[in-house]
């Protein structure tokens, strides 16, 4: 009489069976008689998500350990790690000293990979890499340089026929580690920027329009002739957007790449040993790209679950050794060997 309600009953019955079948068993942490695999949960930085997925897939092939990483944003990663709902957090911005005091458990933050932020633009007919100095870049984002054919840009790029076009600044509308690295850089090179705007995951931009996420900024720049924005290198490359060569601390104009980013990480190692929160922007070195930042993972140093902790430790050891090779394939910056060594020492603090 009521075929649909019978269907509904069937659905309920099946669901009950499935759930009843799974519920009583508490999921095991180690591979045991049940044959279930160890699963480690991490979350945080959106930036590192593709690479983490890659690491996770490769690592599972050899070890059988499943590392489930979800991108909820760096801030989310720190917050969830603090609440203890995940096994490790990942963030593009180191946990500050102030923030660290609010944590109830001891933990370490370890650089696992780095990335470069590219300055992308959309100028009809121009596909070459423009040259920009730190002060010109800061003045563009401060809204002081308004035209693409401004004499200060033209002087740097005598070979390029710059159009008489308004500059439209595109920035992130959401809080982001990319914004932190970019504004950290601008604050380092321009005292005016540092005083007026400062550094942060979201700042009050003096000019321009907002886009959500790297994909949002990429899309805006692609559609708006005259636009300039900042995105992670992989978004620039995958969308064929031209990006600028930025003058570094040694005076050379350098493009973002795996090599130039790696040189920046090598130059940062001494500062990192002093303070893990030190930034890697505007580092000295012939070819170091100045807008480079680290991705850190957050780990408990005195975890309750020792077997799981041992697996987490093994995974990150592998990430720091084998895993670095995969970084450049996905447009990330592998850590210089000095930084890897320092990170491994930090990892040893996990008991």
């Amino acid at each position: 009489m009521f075929p649909n309600s019978r269907l509904l009953l069937a659905v309920i019955a099946v669901s009950v069976v499935i759930i009843a079948g799974c519920a009583p068993k508490k999921s095991p942490n180690t591979t045991g008689a049940t044959g279930a695999k160890v699963q480690i949960t991490g979350a945080g930085s959106t930036f590192v998500y593709p690479l983490m997925s890659r690491w996770s897939a490769e690592y599972e092939k050899n070890s059988g350990v499943q590392v489930n990483y979800q991108s909820i944003g760096s801030g989310g990663g720190i917050q969830q790690f603090k609440e203890g709902t995940i096994d490790f957090g990942a963030t593009d911005v180191a946990v500050s000293l102030e923030e660290e005091k609010t944590f109830t458990r001891p933990f370490v933050q370890i650089p696992v990979v780095a990335g470069t932020v590219a300055v992308v633009y959309n100028l009809p007919g121009i596909t070459t890499n423009l040259k920009l100095t730190p002060s010109v870049l800061a003045d563009i984002f401060l809204g002081k340089i308004k035209k693409w054919n401004d004499v200060r840009i033209a002087q740097l790029n005598p070979d390029v026929k710059l159009p008489d076009m308004d500059i439209v600044v595109v920035h992130r509308s959401d809080g982001s580690g990319t914004t932190y690295i970019f504004t950290d850089y601008l604050s380092t090179v321009s005292s005016e920027w540092e005083q007026k705007i400062g550094r942060g995951k979201s700042v009050s931009w003096p000019t321009g329009v907002g886009g959500k996420g790297n994909e949002g900024v990429t899309g805006q720049v692609k559609q708006l002739p005259g636009a300039i924005g900042y995105v992670e290198l992989s978004y620039a490359r995958h969308n064929n957007l031209p990006f600028a060569a930025i003058q570094n601390a040694s005076g050379n104009f350098v493009l973002p790449s795996e090599e130039t980013g790696m040189e920046a990480t090598a130059a940062a190692v001494e500062r990192l040993k002093q303070d893990i929160r030190s930034s890697a922007v505007n580092m000295p070195g012939e070819n170091s790209y100045p807008i480079t930042g680290f991705v850190y993972v957050l780990l408990d140093t005195q975890p309750k679950d020792k077997t799981k902790a041992a697996e987490i430790k093994k995974f990150f050891e592998w990430v720091l050794k084998e895993g670095q090779k995969m970084a450049s394939e996905l447009d990330y910056v592998p850590l210089a060997s000095e930084v890897v060594e320092m990170s491994l020492q930090k990892l040893a603090e996990v008991q």
């Binding site: 649909n4 309600s5 309920i12 997925s53 996770s56 489930n68 709902t85 790297n214 994909e215 996905l330």
Partner: protein, 286 residues
């Protein structure tokens, strides 16, 4: 008797035609978004819906292929869990409201159910995070299912109430007159008569939660791997679409389209089933 002038009459006809056309166009515009969405999803997604997409696990960027089998199963699992949790509560509450709905307490319940119904789903997600994820110290399929159940409960409650109330009193009286107890009357007469309508409400609630990403982001989190445990993170189609659509990779965009198409097909089927069972209800009541 006043005779209308010719121009007046002519003007009225023009107005009539104009108004008819305008409202007709508006009616067409109502359908337009549905067709636009369907056309977009089919043209972008159909090529990527294949056996690999339906049966394999996600692959990392750089390796083409892979699928969303775990997210498909995860979506059904958590929606099923939500159904098991919300159906008894929703139907029970609905029967109470329909049969004893005049008390102050009942008015309060009705009001609270309506408030819950209008609650943004992200708020529900965050609340369940505090309620279950933090104490359990892990994101879990259970938390995801509970969050979805929170959305379904008021929907099922209100439809059940309406449907039980629509059952003619004569049926109740006949049953009681034959000597059946009140409980027997409810169980064997009233509820079966209202069943078609309740099924409709449940199907619509299922269709609604099947496409929800917001309540799952902070509860089920997501998972790259297979999971059938209640106390572990679990993948779902809506969260996976969100994840893939914002990535820089073409292959993931492709799969996001395919997942969106799959999602909309399931939602459409649920809606059609709801429609058919509504017709069933009217036949039953005749």
């Amino acid at each position: 008797m006043i005779r209308l002038s010719r121009t007046h009459e002519w003007w009225r006809r023009v107005l009539n035609v104009l108004a008819l056309t305008l409202t007709g166009v508006c009616a067409l515009l109502v359908m337009a978004p549905v067709f636009i969405i369907l056309i977009y999803l089919v043209t972008n997604g159909i090529r990527s819906v294949n056996l690999e997409f339906l049966t394999s696990l996600p692959k990392p960027p750089g390796e083409p292929g892979g699928g969303l089998a775990n997210a498909i199963v995860g979506s059904f699992y958590m929606v099923g869990l939500a159904l098991v949790l919300s159906l008894p509560i929703g139907v029970g509450a609905g029967v109470y409201l329909a049969e004893f709905g005049q008390s102050r307490y009942a008015h309060l319940i009705r009001f609270v159910a309506d408030v819950l119904n209008g609650m943004p789903s992200i708020v529900i997600g965050v609340s369940v995070w505090a309620l279950l994820v933090v104490p359990m110290r892990t994101f879990s399929a259970l938390a995801g299912g509970v969050a979805l159940a929170f959305i379904m409960i008021p929907m099922i409650t209100r439809t059940t109430e309406e449907m039980v109330r629509a059952v003619p009193n004569a049926l109740r009286e006949a049953s009681l007159g034959l000597g059946a107890t009140y409980a027997r009357t409810m169980w064997s007469v009233v509820l079966p008569a209202a069943r078609g309508g309740i099924v409709t409400g449940v199907m619509l609630a299922l269709a609604r939660v099947f496409g929800e990403a917001a309540p799952l982001l902070f509860t089920a989190l997501g998972n790259r791997f297979w999971n059938l445990y209640l106390d572990r993170p679990m993948a779902s189609l809506p969260t996976q679409i969100y994840e893939y659509a914002k990535s820089p990779y073409e292959d993931w965009h492709r799969q996001a389209w395919a997942a969106a198409l799959l999602l909309i097909v399931v939602v459409l089927i649920l809606n059609i089933v709801a429609r058919v069972s509504t017709r069933e209800r009217f036949r039953a009541l005749r």
